[in-house]
């Protein structure tokens, strides 16, 4: 094992590189991370890597940031976690900052405006297909169906009737429903055993 400082530098540089190449969101990055840390550097074994993926997908926040913090901590402690997280954010930060400086001027060009009108349609298509893909990936239990229908209908109705209701509440309520259903199930199981 090399000394700590060079580990942290490697972490920072590796995640900087990953930050430059993470087009297309979280899943594209998982593949990159796997080659980088399991195959090339051998810093994580397969099982640890799968744990990391599960954790970063079931906690809030972008997958890229979550896995950077996790891998960084595993390899270089607190400093490692900071180095990796900062590294993965720097490329997009500077690219987007530069874009924000001239985005309005850029959009005032007629061709660009027309192009973006088309792009808006493409983005809506992307969002809908992403939603459908995630829908297929669910186990589709009764709880899933009820929550999906309930949240979906409420959200569309509230938007149409301009009722203000923060999305945060949907998440909190659904989480609570998940726990309640689990509690009821365990209580029932206990009473049938008795």
């Amino acid at each position: 094992m090399k000394n700590d400082n060079s580990n942290i530098r490697t972490l920072f540089l590796t995640f900087l590189k990953i930050g430059v190449f993470t087009f297309g969101g979280g899943y594209a990055m998982i593949a990159l991370l796997e080659t980088e840390f399991c195959v090339r550097k051998n810093w994580l074994d397969k099982k640890e890597f799968l744990d990391m993926t599960a954790i970063s997908e079931s906690t809030p926040g972008p997958t890229a940031v979550n896995s950077a913090t996790y891998i960084g901590y595993k390899i270089g402690g607190v400093l490692g976690a900071i180095a990796a997280t900062v590294g993965v954010c720097i490329p997009s930060f500077f690219i987007i900052y530069i874009i924000s400086l001239f985005f309005d001027k850029f959009l005032s060009l007629k061709v660009v405006y027309a192009g973006f009108r088309g792009i808006q349609v493409g983005v809506i298509y992307l969002i809908l297909t992403a939603g459908l893909r995630m829908l297929k990936a669910l186990d589709n239990t009764l709880l899933d169906k009820i929550i999906i229908l309930g949240v979906f209908i409420m959200m569309i109705l509230f938007t149409l009737f301009s009722v203000k209701f923060s999305s945060v509440f949907y998440i909190i309520i659904s989480g609570a429903v998940g726990i309640a259903v689990y509690l009821i199930k365990t209580l029932r199981k206990r009473s049938t055993i008795k």
Partner: protein, 188 residues
């Protein structure tokens, strides 16, 4: 104080945005529209920019909204806000609560949140489609078909489905954005 507001709002977004990538879209959309930081059009445009540049959507969005509202420092503060919750949570999990995901309470909570996120993405997609293709934003708005947008939507969907079925080829988000830009230039 705009810096504090940016920091707190993006802290909230970072703390509740489960599901990564598109999972955050509904919350980010709601916040930026409520605070008037972006219009619906600007928001959709920026999703396209974010898809065509590297980095997670939430981080890109924080940087963009922060710097367009309050310059470089604003961008920095909003980005810090959106990253901080996941940093702290992952840090706690990695250092002390290694088996957090094995607790049945956490599992039960996630079993409720997962379908909720999917429903939120779909509902957001539908409301965006209603407003962009049919010009319906509330129940009182007069529907106005945007035939051009509708045609572009159908062309993209057709190309995507056909390529997948016939050639087993999945169009990448960037290809879809670039081709819809071309269609936009042709039609508008």
């Amino acid at each position: 104080m705009i810096y504090l507001k940016l920091f707190l709002i993006f802290l909230e977004i970072g703390a509740v945005s489960f599901g990564g990538g598109y999972g955050m879209i509904s919350i980010i959309r709601e916040k930026v529209l409520t605070f008037g930081w972006l219009s619906e059009d600007e928001f959709v445009n920026f999703i396209a920019v974010s898809e065509s540049t590297p980095g997670p959507l939430a981080v890109n969005m924080a940087t963009f909204v922060g710097s367009s509202q309050a310059g470089f420092i604003g961008g920095l503060i909003a980005t810090l806000g959106v990253v901080l919750p996941s940093f702290v949570i992952i840090f706690i999990i990695a250092s002390i609560m290694k088996d957090l995901l094995k607790y049945s309470g956490v599992k039960a909570m996630l079993s409720g949140i997962r379908p909720c996120v999917v429903a939120m993405i779909l509902a957001t997609g539908i409301t965006m489609a209603l407003s962009s293709l049919l010009n319906i934003t509330t129940i009182n708005s007069k529907p106005a078909f945007d035939y051009k947008a509708l045609i572009i939507f159908l062309l993209i969907a057709l190309a995507d489905v056909l390529l997948l079925k016939l050639k087993k080829f999945k169009l990448s988000p960037i290809t879809i954005i670039v081709s819809s830009a071309f269609l936009g230039i042709i039609f508008y």
